[in-house]
Structures are given as structure tokens and as C-alpha cells.
């Protein structure tokens, strides 16, 4: 069963959100998503300085088997992207909640987010 990090919040599109200092949030994708995608081989992230909107696509994640849209769970300006996952997308599979983070946003608002419990029960994830 895919792991669901208990300290994070989740969107219905399987992005996770982690709050940093001020209005900064980090965004990644859950292990539920990485398990379903399979081995990720390419990731297209929004550019630093670009605006993202909660619920709207802002990039793509491509695995050996398929390509999926990346949805931003928050609205705001992208402040940083994880260059490490661009050059080594396998990081997203290996450590989706840590080294596999995707981008950071100076968030103005958030879309609807689920607690880890809600997300895990909805998607058959493992909270422990």
C-alpha cells in the first residue's frame, strides 16, 4: 500500500502541500500517484516567477507508461523549482515526500485540500 505522509495535506489530483515559512509552500506528488504512474522519466515544471492557479495544470509528469498533468494545489508565484528532479526524475519515485519535491510557491490562496487521513482513506494509502 502506498505511503501517505501524515504531516502533509493533499489535493484530489494527488499533489501534496507542505507549509514553510511565511506563505511559502512546497509541492510534490504523493506515493499513490507515483505508484500509479510507474517509473518517472521526465518532469516538466512551471518556471520560476510564473503564476500558478489552484486546480489548473502547471506541468507534466511522464513515466515509462504514461504522461499525466501536474496540477497546482495552490495559487501564487513559483519561487523555486527542484532542479534535482528535473535531471533525475527517479528521485520522485524514490522519495516522493522528501528529495522528490517539485516546486515552491509564494501562495496567495489554496485550493481544496484534504488532510492526510482523508486522503489516505479515499485513496487506500498507508498513514503509518
Amino acid at each position: 500500500m502506498p505511503k501517505v505522509a501524515p504531516e502533509l495535506q493533499y489535493s484530489d489530483e494527488h499533489e501534496w502541500v507542505s507549509r514553510g515559512e511565511g506563505n511559502s509552500v512546497s509541492v510534490g506528488i504523493s506515493e499513490v500517484a507515483t505508484d500509479a504512474l510507474g517509473d518517472i522519466v521526465y518532469v516538466d515544471l512551471p518556471e520560476v516567477g510564473s503564476a500558478v492557479t489552484a486546480g489548473q495544470t502547471c506541468g507534466e509528469v511522464e513515466s515509462t507508461k504514461s504522461v499525466s498533468d501536474l496540477y497546482s494545489p495552490v495559487t501564487g508565484e513559483v519561487t523555486e523549482i527542484n532542479d534535482a528532479v528535473v535531471s533525475d526524475p527517479a528521485l520522485i519515485n524514490n522519495d516522493p515526500y522528501g528529495a522528490g519535491w517539485l516546486f515552491k510557491v509564494a501562495a496567495e490562496s489554496e485550493g481544496p485540500l484534504l488532510s492526510a487521513q482523508e486522503y489516505a482513506s479515499k485513496n487506500g494509502g498507508d498513514l503509518s
Binding site: 505508484d35 510507474g38 517509473d39 522519466v41 521526465y42 507534466e60 511522464e62 515509462t64 507508461k65 504514461s66 504522461v67 519515485n93
Partner: protein, 382 residues
């Protein structure tokens, strides 16, 4: 809709497989990482459950003549013990399925015996079609798909692994077996010895074997193969890696590259069609007309290999472009794990099918550069 489970379903569950529906069968998609499974087959060996494939026996005094009529190849010219890749076509030349036919020794004097192996999703259709075409021939067509399992061991270490289950005095049967040939081999497992049909065939581009085994012995054989393999020598491999392996090997998949709407010439399978064989066969007139029209060579579209110059992969049904105009369609595509660049099979207008032709694939609104390359994408070192 999934209705069918192979005799190895519990083995896959024990191994923690993720499942997918394929041709009406619940099949392992992957056990861990499809990339790791892919690389294992290229470097050492992979173990596949192919029990969803069909097995149809054709026996009788006119079995060879019947298959010459029912299939597009000259099956009667096959030597006993050999295997042959062929197609079963409709009267209009459309492809019902691609299949492998094995010529087996017949226990009955004056009779011939063949095993026809169609794809999972087509097994029932092919069996029914063969039965219908058998009218007027002295043959018996028997669909043994439901009682037969098929296990494949593919990769450079496949022979060494399987030999550990075969008595030493019979090793030559396996070692001397040629590509696209099959032989009955005694396998020792589960406290006994069983003669099983072993074929040196596969769908991965590697050396490898496929073993036909009765359902009731399939799990024991599967376990025995995993037990005789050394640590890291053999991994169970799912359909995801099977698909990426066959794509690198440039092998067509029914439903992607082959269909009733297509024809053998466009698919690059012209040499499989024996227009000059004696007598009539189903699809002959239509196929002769298609060939005369230059299908796949001077008219229509042709199946080609495309190599991505960027990092993005084309996927099934993505449009192929030349100067912004649609000139074809991708049938299969993904990043090649072995080669490190995207590969795709696509039907493109024949005038743009020359090796070296630059083309684009429309990747969901973004054009990415590709180039026509010779098939297969990947060829193993012998």
C-alpha cells in the same frame, strides 16, 4: 472487463504484483519497478506469465493444407520442430491476429500436428475462425487455451537457469535448440519429471524460452524456476516491461500496430504473406490487390521506427507531423530504457518513411523532433 485469472495469479499476488486488465485477463503489470524488470531481462533474465496467450491444436491428415488456407504463410513448408510467425487475415486483408505456429511430431501415421498460439484478446476469435475455416478439411481444431499455461524465461541467462531443471544427459536438447524451434524436454520439479514443450521464442529481443505447461503444474514450475535461479539472476517481470522490451525490439503488438483496419504490407509484414503458395487462402485476392497497389511501399502509410531527438516520448494515437501537417500517427511509444531516448512506432505516409527523414510528433500541443530510424531500435549482441 476482466473475467480470467491465470493459474499463476496467486504467485503474482504473493510477489506483490500490481495488476492490469489485458485482453480480458487480470495480469501482472509489474512487481516492483518496470524499469528494473526491463533491465534485468536485458542483462540477466526475467520470468513472465504468458498464460493469457491462446493455444489451439490443429491435427489431422490435412492439417498442413488447412493452415496454408487459413493463415497467410506457407505453413506446409515448415519442418517438424520449427516455429513460424504468421498472420490470420480476413477476406479483405485486414489482420485478425498475429500468431506463432509450431509444427509438432504427430503420434499418428499420416497425420500432421500443429500448435497455433494467438494473442490473449484474440484467442477465442482465432479459435472460432479456425474452426469455421476448417469446414471441408480433414482436421481437428482444439482450443486448449483454458487448460494450458505459458511461462517465459527471457534474457542472456535464461538457458543457464533452465538447464538446472533438466537432467544433464538431456542438456543438449536445450543447448542445441535453435531460435524459432521447439522440443519436448523433461523438466524435474515438484518431486517428479514432466515432459514439457520448450520453445526458443520470445517477445523481448533477447535469447529466451517459452514453456507450455498444464495449468495444474504451472505454479510448481514457476516456483522451481525462481528457486534454481541465483540471487539477482532472475526477476519476475510484468506486462509493462514486456511492452517496453518488445517495442525496443521493434516487434508489433496486436491492437497497437496490427488491426483489422490495417494490412500486412503497411505493417512491414509483406514477407510473411506467401502470395505464391499453391492454392487459395483467406485474404489472398485482397492481399494480392493491396500488393499490386503498392500498399506500404508506394501508397498509403507504412509502419516506421521513430527516434526522439528530445526527451519527450510520443504515445499511442499522437499525431505525426511534417511542417505542421499531419502525416501519420503513433501506435506505440515510450522512453527506451535501454537506449536512453524516446522511441515510437508510427504509421506515416510512405513518401516520408525513408530512414533519416525528420518528422515531429505532436505531444499534446507541443511539437517535438523525431527522426525515422531502421528497426529494430535495439538488437542484442550475439
Amino acid at each position: 472487463m476482466t473475467e480470467n485469472y491465470t493459474a499463476l495469479y496467486e504467485e503474482h499476488k504473493k510477489l506483490g504484483a500490481s495488476f492490469t486488465d489485458f485482453g480480458g485477463w487480470q495480469m501482472p503489470l509489474k512487481y516492483s519497478s518496470e524499469l528494473a524488470e526491463h533491465h534485468a531481462v536485458r542483462k540477466s533474465a526475467g520470468l513472465f506469465d504468458l498464460s493469457h496467450m491462446g493455444e489451439v491444436w490443429v491435427t489431422g491428415p490435412e492439417a498442413a493444407a488447412f493452415l496454408d488456407y487459413a493463415l497467410v504463410g506457407k505453413i506446409s513448408a515448415m519442418a517438424q520442430g520449427k516455429a513460424k510467425y504468421s498472420l490470420i487475415c480476413e477476406a479483405d486483408g485486414g489482420i485478425i491476429d498475429d500468431l506463432i505456429t509450431y509444427r509438432r511430431p504427430s503420434p499418428v501415421e499420416g497425420e500432421d500436428k500443429f500448435l497455433v498460439v494467438p494473442n490473449a484478446g484474440n484467442a477465442k476469435v482465432v479459435a472460432a475462425e479456425l474452426l469455421e475455416r476448417a469446414a471441408g478439411f480433414d482436421v481437428v481444431v482444439e482450443d486448449a487455451s483454458a487448460s494450458t499455461s505459458l511461462i517465459a524465461v527471457q534474457g542472456p541467462n535464461a538457458e543457464a537457469i533452465l538447464l538446472r531443471l533438466v537432467p544433464a544427459e538431456q542438456h543438449a536438447l536445450v543447448q542445441d535448440l535453435k531460435y524459432y524451434a521447439a522440443v519436448e524436454v523433461p523438466f524435474t520439479f515438484d518431486g517428479g519429471t514432466q515432459d514439457l514443450l520448450l520453445a526458443r521464442t520470445g517477445y523481448t529481443g533477447e535469447d529466451g524460452f517459452e514453456i507450455f505447461v498444464p495449468n495444474e503444474s504451472a505454479a510448481a514450475l514457476w516456483q522451481a524456476i525462481t528457486e534454481v535461479a541465483e540471487d539477482g539472476e532472475l526477476v519476475p517481470a510484468g506486462l509493462a516491461s514486456r511492452d517496453s522490451l518488445r517495442l525496443e525490439a521493434g516487434m508489433p503488438l496486436y491492437g497497437n500496430e496490427l488491426s483489422r483496419a490495417g494490412n500486412p504490407f503497411a505493417a512491414g509484414l509483406g514477407p510473411v504473406v506467401a502470395l505464391s503458395k499453391e492454392g487459395d487462402f483467406v485474404g489472398k485476392d485482397a492481399l494480392a490487390a493491396l500488393k499490386a497497389d503498392g500498399a506500404g511501399s508506394t501508397s498509403g502509410r507504412r509502419l516506421v521506427g521513430l527516434k526522439g531527438l528530445g526527451r519527450r516520448a510520443g504515445r499511442g494515437h499522437y499525431p505525426v507531423l511534417k511542417d505542421g501537417a499531419v502525416v501519420g500517427e503513433v501506435t506505440s511509444g515510450q522512453p527506451s530504457p535501454t537506449l536512453g531516448y524516446p522511441v515510437a512506432l508510427a504509421y506515416v505516409d510512405v513518401e516520408l518513411s525513408e530512414v533519416g527523414t525528420p518528422l515531429d510528433i505532436d505531444l499534446r500541443g507541443k511539437s517535438e523532433p523525431f527522426e525515422v530510424v531502421a528497426l529494430p531500435f535495439y538488437k542484442r549482441q550475439k
